[in-house]
Symmetry: D2
Amino acid sequence: MAQQIKCGVVGATGYAGYELARLLRKHPMVSESMLFRREESGAKTLDEIYPRSMNGRPTPLHAFSWEHVEKEKIDLLFLATPHETSWEMVPEGLKRGLKIIDLSGAWRLKNAVNREVYKLEENGTTGATMKQAVFGSPELHSDEIRGAKLVANPGCYSTSVILALAPLVKGGLIDVEAGIVCDCKSGVSGAGKAPSAKTHFVEVAENLSAYSVFGHRHTGEILEQLGIGAENLIFTPHLLPIPRGILSTIYVTLKEKTTAAGIEETLRNFYADSKCVRVFPYPQLPQIQDSLRTNYCDIGFALGPDGKKVILVSCLDNLIKGAAGQAVQNMNVMYGWAEQEGLN
Amino acid sequence: MAQQIKCGVVGATGYAGYELARLLRKHPMVSESMLFRREESGAKTLDEIYPRSMNGRPTPLHAFSWEHVEKEKIDLLFLATPHETSWEMVPEGLKRGLKIIDLSGAWRLKNAVNREVYKLEENGTTGATMKQAVFGSPELHSDEIRGAKLVANPGCYSTSVILALAPLVKGGLIDVEAGIVCDCKSGVSGAGKAPSAKTHFVEVAENLSAYSVFGHRHTGEILEQLGIGAENLIFTPHLLPIPRGILSTIYVTLKEKTTAAGIEETLRNFYADSKCVRVFPYPQLPQIQDSLRTNYCDIGFALGPDGKKVILVSCLDNLIKGAAGQAVQNMNVMYGWAEQEGLN
Amino acid sequence: MAQQIKCGVVGATGYAGYELARLLRKHPMVSESMLFRREESGAKTLDEIYPRSMNGRPTPLHAFSWEHVEKEKIDLLFLATPHETSWEMVPEGLKRGLKIIDLSGAWRLKNAVNREVYKLEENGTTGATMKQAVFGSPELHSDEIRGAKLVANPGCYSTSVILALAPLVKGGLIDVEAGIVCDCKSGVSGAGKAPSAKTHFVEVAENLSAYSVFGHRHTGEILEQLGIGAENLIFTPHLLPIPRGILSTIYVTLKEKTTAAGIEETLRNFYADSKCVRVFPYPQLPQIQDSLRTNYCDIGFALGPDGKKVILVSCLDNLIKGAAGQAVQNMNVMYGWAEQEGLN
Amino acid sequence: MAQQIKCGVVGATGYAGYELARLLRKHPMVSESMLFRREESGAKTLDEIYPRSMNGRPTPLHAFSWEHVEKEKIDLLFLATPHETSWEMVPEGLKRGLKIIDLSGAWRLKNAVNREVYKLEENGTTGATMKQAVFGSPELHSDEIRGAKLVANPGCYSTSVILALAPLVKGGLIDVEAGIVCDCKSGVSGAGKAPSAKTHFVEVAENLSAYSVFGHRHTGEILEQLGIGAENLIFTPHLLPIPRGILSTIYVTLKEKTTAAGIEETLRNFYADSKCVRVFPYPQLPQIQDSLRTNYCDIGFALGPDGKKVILVSCLDNLIKGAAGQAVQNMNVMYGWAEQEGLN
């Protein structure tokens, strides 16, 4: 049997951090996972914040310190922290010899222009660190992830868009100049655990709203991963009155007239070896419920009567495949374990 | 003071029919509104089905018959009936000298090809009747509605799409060849009151799904009203986990680079005399909550950095501006009353 | 025609304040209602906060000052403010000759012990002012409200409990010693507009929780209004995953075996002249939807096989009959207008 | 390692049946579980009905027949069928030597009076069969379940009420004559998968309603299991606008004045060996979210200032601990496996 590892999770009290804690606790290759909160003081156990996690043995929450991490001989550190925090912590962590999977947006973008939206202060160290960062989409970059010290776990919206588009874009089937429209809808947990007017129940319930139109942070990831120009992509997020789940409806035009069977084959071939993407049989389309609480990204499509207009629909759970689950999947790839280990 | 009229509502027990009953009861120009159910037997009063409507005097429900309508000297008949029923009833009603506002899809489409989706059997009478039918969008056709005997009240989705696009399409600003994408999301009452797997709470809650992709019945209305070809429009409905409300996100490309101020002015000018459309000040976008339980169609937009890509967002309440409210608005126009009479 | 009055609303940006603004705007006897926010700076119009309220003429929001109130010659001031604020403002307002309807809990309780929960600092002025305060339940105290300078508008929970129990308690039918259990459930707007962990969408959705068990602030109102001892009442609030609405399930034991017809008659007689209470015909029970967006308190009941155990079910909209609507109803009674004026 | 068994599930397409299929598929002691639908024709695989269950290998659905069951050498049959169907199938299944866990209400009640509500036709066989039936509450009857051929899996509401009350009732602490009030609230999946007016999204959303007051089927189970008389129990179900989860608020009076510590100790002692009940530390109360998608029944309580009034709050997932999960727990006990095997 392969060697088990010891993990740490910083920011374990947020929604993604909690899911990580939950997944790691039952992962057969993780001997232990230490949970850290960023603040000096606060809850002593995860059970105080999430009573649902109680199972007889309270899960301790520690105030984070590098000394603590070193003392515990942690192999792999998950950062479920704001991007500013990740930006500061990652170079230090790498220096101390840790492997890191960062769930923030800080290390996902190679292009400095795309990165501006995060207002991060760059210096020599960060530049060098950025070169080490691998975009953690196991369906696209498993080879690089395998040897990576630093994996930048993708955004939730971007995962749903990139995985739906990659087969057709990378297969050169799409007329990119004709424009790609991504109309995306997400549940509220995507906005985080901090209370705000935007997450107030009364403001969200019985409602739907578009936000960050022509300016959402995940746009850069989509552009870089698909290699398309900003002028050819529109990405519009909407806030759904549900706790979790993303559905992206993506509109593209093909270069050549095609059949539904042809498109389905392209998708199936692309994901033939992927355990965490489900291609739906045409003309069935995934719904948010299908992927909830799983690490699947579900993809289906419809083909227009002209044989060229394609509507891709992709669904995932923003906290699992869009965050914690994909992070665990990245860990699995980094250590050479089965891709879906601990995720079923 | 102008003469009051007497109304009838057929299909008063459905969601749109109930809203009609509610609106007509407090309309100052309606002396009485008789409520009819299509079935021979069933509830004797509206209060049995909608206890919320109880106000001391029970509202009787009558089994429909033409004799009853005639005996009561009804001036205007609202049909909140399935399209097959409206298709049969309208010629007879017109023959008997009634004015009719039909909320079904039966009489909305002039182009027989677009009408095929309803599988209606045409004959000499229906052809002649169709010529009389006016598409009941008061913002676009108030002159024809004023003299109409038969008003075909628009669909809920189509209203939200047509009103958002009309100013730019009719102003010739849109590059129609570049394609128009309408990504629309509706609450469940749009699917009607009949229980089905699609409307089961457990199937809808915590979910979002696309449906009728490349094939929804409202497509024809949008095409005919905007005068664009089927090859240039994509319209994708989605089912939202809320009882009511529609938000349409509409993607267009302008022919010429424009400013936000220019677009806002175009919208404001187009709706300068309209009391039931609210143009939101750029860059504010309407949300579903804004228009709920009102007869407003709310319209806002975002402009891309290239000055040509425009995202229109339009919201309305599918049972009010998308059905019963717009029907009352049409009545107001037919009789020369203030457009928003009884609707505030 | 009777004289119109001029109103002011302090705290118009909260949920109850907004409903007040909306109701007063269309009230036929209110010539104008000035909206005040408590803060020095902030939104200049109500439309900025509630776009749904836009109707062509923006509604200005003023920073509150007594000078402004005096200059505008306001007759009646509604306070939709925290209880500490109301506690300070009311004596000053009365001194300046205003009539006041206060929606907070500050002035509802005559018994100092019950008031402790609010931690208000009492002094000579407050004591004298308290003597003037009338508990604003128009179904119980219309005579005193008619001449009142200060009306303490009841709590939302207490309204639903008091109105359900009053006919049986005041009729002496209930065996109070056997205990009265009030199991109450409320939508989230009852918790106010301030974002908090308790109102975060993800914490509320798909959930139900009991809170403030054996210690909710509204308990004192119920005790005082019904004249029962604390040892005989249990009142348990629960937070429902809906924006608004309250349903109270109330368990009592009658002194004597009774028939359903007898109980229904008792309820109907008690509310024979009340326009804002609907007694449901046995065995029909009200649901939250029935009373939503109305000023009705809906009451129904079930009778146990022993003829003595009664379950009362009462529903209301916590922002209307439980707050703003009842405040308007109190204004109507104070000025001798029809009880339900402006409320249909 | 212990011997694995082969299971069958009849009625695998309903909500509880689907959860059973899901749980059994990953249960380490179940070598295979055959899924049956009751109808002759219909979906060929579970994936057609629940796309979320797709995991590469479609799960076949078979039309049920005893021959099929025998041919497959099934050891244990789960019946997720209507009570009329279970009533007919169980005697036949036992005759054929199968062990059976029945999720319907047919075999739960020993007292014929309580059983009347199900309108089952009794005969010699059913009487003998009923004697074999063990009420499947592993926390109360593990010894009898261990040797049982027929386990009657408890109702969802009854489980939440019985487990909360058992420690205090069986400890003789409760003044039963003073009455026990169970105010229970359940999500919509408890009403089953068949579409109806009651489960229509628009009727349930933004609503709460009491139903089956003084007459719900689960009452008999509570009475029999706790050994209390019908005159001392009130059980009121309510329909919550959420897909799943039950919260029961239970009001009792103790015979003697007690401390919170004393009550907590009683609860903890009673459940000291139970792996599927969580007693919450006083004064923390469980919420529905805590137990969702787990096989836990969560129990907490509040104690009144008189030291005698106790409010118990218990939560569970009606499809897991209230149905499929408890059925698997019963299987575990029947076969001597760890109580929570396959349930974490």
